[in-house]
């Protein structure tokens, strides 16, 4: 068990393994996305209150979930990188940041599109919207910090501290903002045993959430592979790889 993790932590092994995973994950993403979109756009009935416009939920909610998942995942990776000094965790965390920021932006943009017909405004200072916006700022702060430090290893460690500080703060920020103002509809899926959402809408939502998750892992592995190559460009195995590619 441990030897697997030791192996995984070696850049070369990770590079090969990730290369094998990417096509499978990519195919899975496409299949899930097609199924989720079909069920969501054609099979699920229109909502009795919100009509057709609720269908943006199938993008909005998974994007919002991903935005939070990636931040916590980055915090876990940063913790691993800091405690066991594993370079690869750091690579993964840095490769995740841009994706997390994109998902956050997507959640905000689709939320704004959804808000216009529902609340009659593109933007309201509602608690969840505001905390999502703050989350975007946290991501952008991390990206700006890691971009400003030239040495990538130092950048990763400094970014790790920022992420860990952020993850302590996120619940505080979230609840303080919630307490400050709330207008957003309550969560509908968290109570899985008896969700306040019908199965015909729940299934496409879950499928889309899975598709987003697979998409994230596909892209983050691709990015991490590129990052590993960049960082290890002076090592023997990269040189060997290159000479093999050149033939």
């Amino acid at each position: 068990m441990w030897s697997f993790f030791y192996k995984l932590a070696s850049p070369k092994y990770f590079y090969d393994l990730a290369g094998k995973f990417i096509p499978w994950l990519g195919t899975l993403t496409v299949l899930l996305l097609l199924a989720g979109l079909y069920l969501g756009l054609f099979v699920a009935p229109p909502d009795y209150q919100q009509g057709e416009s609720y269908r943006i939920m199938f993008v909005h909610v998974p994007a919002a979930w991903m935005s939070m998942f990636i931040y916590v995942f980055m915090a876990v990776l940063s913790g691993i990188a800091m405690i066991w000094n594993i370079k690869l965790a750091d690579v993964m965390a840095q490769s995740s940041a841009a994706l997390g920021a994109s998902f956050t932006f997507l959640a905000l943009a689709t939320g704004s599109l959804w808000g216009k017909p529902m609340w009659g405004a593109w933007w309201v200072w509602d608690a969840r919207l505001t905390s999502e916006l703050i989350l975007l700022f946290l991501y952008l702060g991390y990206i700006a910090l890691t971009a400003a430090i030239e040495d990538t290893r130092v950048a990763g460690r400094a970014g790790g501290i920022l992420i860990l500080v952020g993850v302590v703060n996120i619940p505080i920020i979230h609840y303080s903002v919630e307490w400050w103002n709330t207008l957003h509809q309550g969560a509908t899926v968290t109570k899985l045993d008896k969700p306040s959402i019908h199965a015909s809408m729940l299934w496409p939502l879950l499928l889309m959430a899975l598709a987003f998750q697979c998409y994230y892992f596909t892209v983050v592995l691709m990015r991490a592979r590129a990052e590993v190559l960049e960082r290890e460009k002076r090592s023997a195995w990269v040189a060997e790889l290159l000479s093999r590619l050149k033939g």
Binding site: I134, F137, L138, L140, G141, A144, L145, A148, I149, V154, R157, A158, I161, L162, L164, V165, G166, V168, N169, I172, I173, S176, V177, W179, W180
Partner: protein, 225 residues
């Protein structure tokens, strides 16, 4: 333990002495604070009723910005002349030394804001009860700003253009303080109890007091590696 305490007081005395020798610079955050508050009536409206409504937010945002800009030189001079590296090499726990330094910084740049704030609050037509609440929130809130901000400073101290970056990193972390503090002042102005908000601020302060020095110490070690 005793020797650590001794090192902390020595550091505190040194920082206060340094600040006292540069008396001219002491007034800068205060001036900054007063000027931002002055801009609001000019930019929004001189209507006293409106000003009373926006005053808690205006004063707190100005305090936030003043804290942020004064923080920039928390470690800068010591980083440039190498004193910071000596601090890192000392046998005492870095987190405690950092705590002493942050405390000195708060005494020099946070505490004076407390003295000026009632005056500005009067100009913005806040009621006496609200001014009391404002002072209470500032007492609890400004050390919090220094502690949390120090993490950002420690992360950016080695960078040449850290100022703008510091704002980006630290501002989102200041939001809970802003929310609870302005809410307390507004509630006090409306004659409602504010204990809840003050307890929240106090809890945040305790949390920051225990965790922030550790994060600052770790960040300093990275920045100087």
């Amino acid at each position: 333990m005793n020797s650590t305490l001794h090192a902390m007081t020595a550091l505190l005395r040194r920082d206060l002495l340094l600040a006292f020798r540069h008396r001219g610079e002491l007034a800068n955050p205060l001036l900054f604070f007063a000027m931002i508050v002055t801009l609001y009536p000019l930019g929004v409206s001189p209507d006293p009723e409106l000003l009373r409504v926006v005053a808690p937010g205006v004063i707190w945002i100005a305090a936030l910005l003043a804290a942020l800009f004064s923080l920039e030189n928390l470690f800068r001079a010591d980083f440039d002349d190498g004193a910071l590296e000596q601090m890192l090499l000392s046998p005492h726990p870095l987190a405690l030394l950092v705590l002493a330094r942050i405390f000195a910084h708060w005494l020099v740049s946070g505490l004076p804001l407390l003295l000026l704030a009632p005056l500005l609050a009067l100009q913005l037509n806040l009621s006496p009860v609200a001014i009391q609440a404002l002072l209470a929130t500032l007492v609890l809130g400004t050390p919090l700003l220094s502690l949390v901000g120090a993490i950002g400073v420690a992360l950016t101290v080695g960078l040449r253009r850290g100022g703008m970056l510091l704002t980006l990193l630290v501002m989102p972390l200041y939001i809970p303080v802003l929310i609870f503090a302005t809410n307390a002042v507004a509630a006090a102005g409306a004659g409602m109890p504010i204990e809840g908000q003050l307890y929240f601020l106090a809890a945040l302060l305790v949390l920051a007091l225990t965790l922030a020095p550790l994060a600052v110490a770790a960040a300093l070690r990275i920045s100087l590696s």
